[in-house]
Structures are given as C-alpha cells and as structure tokens.
Amino acid sequence: MQKPNPIPLPPSDPLTWSLVDLVDLEWQLALDAEVSAEDLWDRDRRISREQLVPVLGKELVPEAGREIRSCGLRLWLEEVRKSCREESVGEMVCHGRGLMALILGFIAVTAGSGLVFGLLHREWRYFNVVHFLLATLAPQFLLLLLLLLGRVWGKIRSPSHRSTSLWRNLLADLWSKLATHAWTRRLSDVALRARTGKLGALVRPWLVWPVARLTQTAAIWYNLGIMGAFAGILLGMDVRFFWESTPGVSAEEGLHQVVATLATPWSWLAPQTVPSLSGIHDTRIAVTGTEGGWHEPEGVRSAEIWVPFLFTTLGIWGLLPRLILLAFCSWQERRMLLRQNFGDRQHRELWRRLAESGRLMVNVTGPGDDAIVLCWGGVEPNPEELRPVMLQQLRLNPVQWFTAGGLDVTTDSVAIRSLANLAGEKSAAPLPLVLIAESWGLAPRDLAAFLTSLRKELGVSPSIRCLLIGEPKAGHILTPPKAEDLRIWEKFAADLGDGGFIIRPLRGIQA
C-alpha cells in the first residue's frame, strides 16, 4: 500500500520554487506594501479559501512549518499571477541573466582565443610555454583570489561606505537617466525599488549564487576559447614550443619541478604527458657557442613534448576547477531555492493573512439616535445643557445645529437649504429633526410658512419633534411650558395637518 503524501499536492504541479518565482514573490510583496490592509485581507482570504484550503486543509495554520508555508505561498503566487497582466518581473530578471550569459560567453570565448593568438609569435610560429602557462592560468587564479579577498573585505567593511559609494551613486544616476525613456520605465522601476531596498534587500542574497554561476559559465567559455584556439592553431600551423632562461641547469630543474607539480593530478595515470627533464632541456632556446648561433628546438619534437601537457593542464587547472565551481554554484542555488523558509517580515505578514482561521469582525454601527436640532425664533439653548434633556426626554442625540426664525428672514432659507443638502447627502433615512421653540412666542403664520417650505424641500419622511420650552427663569432657559401655551401649540399642530409634526413639551427641569 502506498504511503500517503503528508501534503496532498496535485501531481501535475510539483510546487517547487525557481528564481523567477522568488523574484516574482518579492516583487508582489513590494507592490503590496502600497495596498490598503483591507484590500490585502480580502484578496488573500479569497485565495486562501479557494486555493490553499482545498490543498493544505488542516495543515494551513499560522505556525505551520517550512514545507507547508512554501507550498501555500507557491499556490498564492500562482493565483496572484493569474490576475497580473504585465510580464513577470522574475522572468525579466532571468531573461536578463540569460542575455548577460550570452554576452559574457561571447566576450569570454573571444578573450580566451584572442589571448592564445596573442601568445603565438606570428613570425617564428612558436609558443613560449612559460608565458603560455602564466598568461592562461595565473590571471584566473589571481582573479579568484581577489574575489575571495573582496568577499572577506566586504564582510568587515563599514556599510555607510558601501551604501553611499561612488559606484552606487553613479549607477543610480545612470538608472534615473535611463528612466526618462519610456521603454525603460518599467525596468527602471524595478531598479529604483531595488535601490530603495524594498525589493533589493530581499532579492540580493538570492542573486548571489545565480550571479556566481554566471561568472563561472563565462570562465568556462573563456577556457574553452583558449583550448579551441590552441587546438585550431595546432591543426592549422606547424608550431614550435620553447622556453628560455638566463640561469641554465637550475632553471631547467625549476621548470621541471613546476611541470611535475602541475601534472600531479594525472601523472600517475598518463606519465607520457609529462615533459621529462631532458625534454625540457631540449626545448630550451640557448646560445650554441658559435657567434650568433642559437639552439632552437625542432617543431615536431617540441610539440610532442609540450602539447599533451599543455592541453591537459588547461583542462585540469583551467576548465575543471570552473566546472567544479559551476556545479557547486548550481548546487548552492538549488539548495537555496529548496531551503527557503519564507520567514522574513513580508512573508510572515502574508502567511498570517493566509493561514488565519478567520478574523472575528465586530460591527458596531452606532445607536442610530442622531438628530438635527433647529432652534426657532431666536432661542439659543446651551448645547451642553440641552443634550442631556434630549437624550432623556426625546431619546435623541443632537449631532448638528441650525437656527431659523430670527430677525434676518434669509436665515430661514439658509437653514432649509442646509437641511435639504444634508438630507441629500444621507443615503439612509433622513435624520429626525427637533425644533426647539419657546411656547410663549408662537407666531402661527410665520412658523407654518416655514414648515411648509421645509416640507417642500425635505418631503414628508423626517419627523419633526417640536420641543417646547417655557419662559426663561433666573438665566435658565430650559423650563417647562405653561399648560395654556401648550394647548395653543397643540391646536396649531392640529391646524397644520402635518402628521409628522409632534409637540413634545419639556418636562420638569429644575434650575
């Protein structure tokens, strides 16, 4: 019986991460920083419900391990990609890397073959084997050493210098100039984001191994260029090999020692490829003793001595280390992709949104007792005093205040217009209106005309409670109305014929 997979992944989708995916993920997270929390919540909850829950089920929890998080985020990314019409930034980066690899490869092959042609003495058609070895191998190892030292130096170097270095500033200026061109705008946007650290800080560690892989690929092409050009020359020309040195015997022994050391990896397997001491002696250019005479090595014999050795040396010390480094970089890149634990701040925030079992929403909409106050006839009660009265007697909470019925008749139309505008703004039912009036000061025609105009603007729906107050006493404006005044107002209301106009006398309030 087959053992069940702990994560029931769809077989068609292995849910592995590539560099394209990682860059896309970070890019999307950088974009999300500019989106409102509510929108992110809605989007990610939908994706969680529709995509993650069916696959991960009960494994989808905030404290989930690396594998589950990786799987969940991969599903999330796929879903987000569907809604994105633009070209994937990850693909742009990887296409850029591919293009860079092509350019670097061409440059490397050209440089390698050019170097070999440069080392060949055109007129006499010979190679100086010492120069050949030094020029083809030493710079590579020197560069490798410099890079290693640079890496160590970078570790201990102060960041302020790095972040504000001349190179960075110049590159930043270059990008901003490029950004003015429409065709580079999107690319430039990526670069700008990388500069500000939104994307770059997170993507940079991921690019270390891909970039290292790129450089090793270029170095392989460089070595292939060297070997190809060397082979081409040997096939097309009759070339001689020699070496020269002022001290005699000791130099021969020294070179033999170097040759033997270089040949250590393969000399036990193919000793015939290693030049012997006599061979080295024979291929040395030396003064013969006669005036102007030189001992020159024979072309065929010198080639037999040196060509197998040089080819094997180029292969073993030039190409092979690069192949090993390339394999190491590829392995590290794969390892990096496999071992992403998605635990950085942006990942954590996203995962919390995806894995949360649900968010409890508390919907407090307000008590719904808001009312608009309209003070009629020049009465101006203190809002702080009137509010408790309205709360306790009318069970309404005053939120806005208007005045009308004063000396200036234009204030009436202003109040009506303001109330109409307010009613127009409200999509829900209009707020109830409380008209505060003094019971002893009723001018029936004036108030009736005002109420008619008001109804014309507001319609019949808002109720108008008329809170009647009595005569002010000892500076206290909120007093109950007299019974006879109340009767007059009740008759007025009855004559008005407005069912929504309700008389509410103020009940006993003590000064």
Partner: protein, 514 residues
C-alpha cells in the same frame, strides 16, 4: 416573537442583553469587551441615559454571526414596573411570571411610559441571555432589588457583572451576597482596567449560563485568542520595521562645494541636515506607533508631542534625558556590543577557513567593546557621511548624508519607546473615554538618571539576539542573518508585557515579576 423557552437552532447566534441601571457602566463593559473606543459608535458619558435604545453588536466570522451583544437603555422606573407586574400577575391563575413581563411590554411598548424598561426587556423576551451590570464600587441599596426581580421573572439564564467604576472594591462582598440571590453567576469585571485575559475570562463565564450556544461562544473565544496572537506578531513586525528603517535610513541632500569648503557654512549645512534627519526619524517613529495604535483599536491614542500639550524635554526621542534613562546601561551596552562584534568577527574567521586562528573574533569583540564605551557617550549625536567630498566628480556639489546617531544605544532607546507605547495600548481598556495620551516624559521624569526602560531588563539571551541584529543592521548585513530570531525574541518580550510580567509602573519605574 419567539419564546425564550424555545431551543433555537444550533446555528443561531448566542445573544446576550447587557442590562442594568442607567449610567452604571453597561456600555463601558461592552466597549471593553468588544474593543470599541469610538464614542460615536458606542456612547459612554457621565450623562445618565446616553444609551437611548437597544444597540446590537454582532461578532461575525465570514458574515456569520457567532455572538450578539445588545446594549440596552438602563432601568429608569424599575420599582413602578415591578409594582405593575405584581399587580397584574395572578399566581393562582397558574400563569408564568414571564407572561406578565410579556404583557407589561405589550401594554407600554407604544406609550410614553416605561419606555426604557420596554426597550431593554424586548431582547430578553426574544431569547437573549442576561448580563446584568452593577457599579459595585458604590454601596448596595434595596431599590436594586426591583430590577433584579424583574429580570428573575423573565426566567432567562443570567449573570451579574460587578463593575468598579471608581475602583473601590470595599462593597464587593455585600453586592456579591445580594446578587447571588437573583443570578446564576456573579463575576467581577472592571471595564476601565480589564485586559485581554479578563475579557476572555468573562466570555468563558457566558458559557456557564448559556450552554446551548457553547459551540459559537467557544469559536468566538478561539478566534479572539488567535486574533490576539496575530496582533502580537503584527506588532512585533511593526517594531522590527521601525528599527530596521531607523537604523538604515539617512537624510541626504546635495550641497555646493562652497558650502562644504568653508567651515562655518559647512557646520550650518550639517546642523540643518541633522535636524532634517531628526524630523525624519520622529515622523517614522510616530507613523509606526500610530500603526500600533490602529492595530490595537486605539486610533485616537496621542503621543505627547502631537497632542498639543507642551512638549517636555524628556518626551523627545533625541532629548538628552531620553538617552540617559532609556536603552542600555553603559556596561550592558559594552557587553552587547562585544558579543555582536565577536559574532561578526567570527564570520570573518569562518570565511577564512580558520586561517585567522580566531583573531577576527577577538578583534571584533574588542572593537565592539571599545566602540560602545567611546561612542556610547555621544548621546544623540548624528553621524555625517561625506561620500563624495573632494572627489570632484560631481560638478554640482557633494552629497551629504546624516544618520543614524553614533551612539549604539540608539536602537535600544527606540525599542524602549516602542515597547512603552505597546504597553500603554495593551493595558488601556476600550471602555475608557478620557483622553488617551501616551507621555514618554513619564519614563524620563521618574528615571533620575537610572535606566528605566525594558531593554535594560529583558533577559541576557534576548538582549544578545537584539544586539546581534542591531549590529548587522548597522553594518548593512541584516539580510544575511535575517530577522526571524529577533522576531521570535520580540514576540516573547511583547507577550511578557501583555501579561504584566514586564511592565512600567505608573510612576515610571519598571518592575519585573518573576
């Protein structure tokens, strides 16, 4: 109208009417329970009768209501209402008392009498459980019996909550004895001081009186707890974001060669740039603190410098007083820097494959120690970079950058202030309606030169984790070590602040309960 005796379907939400005498803290209890600090939505005030009608507050998950609380107007005429009930109830006729209550509401519903009583009894008649709130900081009086008796007549499951509005608990026992006669359960809950754990405890008590909706109440509690944990993690990320940006961002401007060649002009430019940097960091801190406030549903929390009050010296991030009482003590700072420097040096040793024989570690540790002692005295002095000074490659002038401060205590001070803000947020009950001002000067006022913050009191291991991360940030190598470790450490610290294990007293001094 459904009968309260009926068993609602399993999927119906648990409903609780919060009732009590007018102005005794019903709305405060609810505001604290559901974290509603907005007075427009849930009105609380000294005026009796702020709650004019029943206000339903649903707690929903994906649109499904799990629990519903109903804020009700307070009892205004309980004695008269009880008298009416007694007058109209005939035991000998075998009618349930509930029927009398129903008749009472039906009789007065559309009249001017017993308006509040009708409104508050309606949801109970519709099947809601009863949460009866009293202000137990005031003495018990017999007139409360009327409202308790009316509630007993409804026959609904009921719990009494003793709120302590003025903080006096001397009457608690007396109240407890009398409430015990009328209610299935009596529990304390101070709406002005209750923290998260107390809110959860109160919700758990609801299970004891309303078992029919156990599922939805337990689900609510579980969601609240997971939400609270998520908030703690969100808060940790906000603090991490603040520290990360504060330690890496700079204020930069282009200056002419003329400005930088002449000493006095250069000093002016540098002073201006340093002030710009300070403003930038203050804004950054304010913004991140505001995010914390939003997260804990205290959007109106004010920091002293934005509340319009006179700014005290100790309130400012860059004030000397702040740096003297917050952050780490000199020796702690030196130890932290030594450990961080040693760790960075060990990285070099590793990079060289041990060829340096541990020299990197020794040099790093020594550098950290000396640097902390030396730069630690520089208080809030801000570093100025001259990356292109004298380079002559920029004909328009040179680019000057300011920040961050030279003192390695800077991130610790920022951390302390963020944690102080956090503590205020998690200890502030939403039922309070007084102005919520977070005054950093409180810390410095009480300090008198000694370290008052959290950083100097957290565990050595946590301090080591923070120290390493700060060091990596200041070296621009934060991405290499990541922030997972510091996140875990910060979540732990925040958890201890939440529980009160690590806290600042009201007089500003910090105490730690072990």
């Amino acid at each position: 109208m459904s009968d309260p005796g009926e068993t609602p379907s399993d999927r119906s939400p648990a409903r609780f009417a919060v009732v009590g005498r007018v102005n005794k803290g019903k709305s405060s209890v609810l505001a604290t329970l559901v974290e509603e600090a907005d007075n427009q939505r849930l009105r609380i005030g000294p005026t009796p009768g702020e709650t004019t009608r029943c206000q339903t507050i649903p707690l929903t998950l994906n649109g499904e209501t799990l629990v519903e609380f109903i804020d009700t107007p307070g009892f205004n005429q309980a004695r008269q209402a009880l008298a009416w009930l007694r007058a109209h109830h005939r035991e000998e006729e075998g009618r349930a008392r509930l029927e009398a209550v129903r008749q009472f509401v039906a009789t007065f519903r559309n009249t001017e009498e017993f308006v509040d009583e009708c409104r508050l009894l309606q949801p109970i008649l519709d099947g809601a459980g009863i949460v009866y709130v009293v202000d137990a900081s005031k003495p018990y009086r017999t007139d409360f019996v009327a409202e308790m008796e009316i509630l007993r007549w409804t026959g609904r499951p009921r719990m009494a909550v003793m709120n302590f509005l003025s903080g006096d608990t001397s009457h608690a026992q007396e109240w407890r004895e009398h409430l015990g006669e009328f209610f299935n359960l009596t529990r304390d809950f101070n709406a002005h001081t209750a923290r998260f754990r107390e809110r959860i405890r109160l919700l758990r008590h609801l299970l004891e009186i309303e078992d029919r909706h156990r599922g939805s109440i337990e689900k609510t509690i579980q969601l609240l707890e997971s939400g609270w944990n998520r908030r703690r993690e969100d808060a940790a990320d906000i603090v991490i974001n603040l520290l990360q940006r504060a330690l890496t961002e700079k204020a930069c401007k282009n200056a002419s060669h003329e400005d930088t060649r002449r000493s006095h002009r250069r000093q002016q430019v540098e002073a201006k740039l340093q002030e710009e940097y300070r403003t930038q960091i203050r804004m950054l801190e304010g913004g991140q603190h505001a995010r914390l406030s939003q997260l804990y549903r205290h959007p109106k929390a004010e920091m002293t410098h934005e509340s319009g009050d006179a700014v005290l010296e100790g309130d400012d991030l860059f004030a000397e007083e702040t740096w003297q009482v917050l952050g780490l003590a000199p020796m702690q700072l030196a130890v932290a820097a030594t450990l961080a420097g040693g760790a960075a040096g060990a990285g070099v040793d590793l990079a060289t494959g041990g060829a340096t024989h541990g020299l990197g570690t020794v040099i790093g540790a020594a550098g950290g120690f000396i640097g902390a002692l030396w730069k630690g005295r520089a208080l809030a002095e801000i570093k100025i970079d001259h990356p292109l000074l004298g380079g002559g490659l920029n004909p328009g002038g040179v680019k000057l950058c300011a920040g961050p401060p030279k003192n390695p205590n800077f991130p610790w001070v920022l951390l302390d202030r963020a944690l102080y803000h956090f503590e205020h947020l998690v200890t502030r009950a939403h039922g309070r309606r007084d102005r919520f001002v977070i005054d950093f000067a409180d810390l410095t006022k009480a300090g008198e030169g000694s370290r008052q913050g959290y950083a100097s009191r957290i565990g050595a291991d946590e301090r080591k984790v923070f120290g390493r991360w700060f060091d990596a940030l200041s070296r621009g190598r934060a991405e290499a070590i990541g922030d997972r470790e510091v996140f875990s450490a910060l979540v732990q610290v925040l958890g201890r602040i939440e529980t009160g294990e690590l806290r600042v007293r009201s007089n500003g001094s910090l105490e730690e309960d072990c």
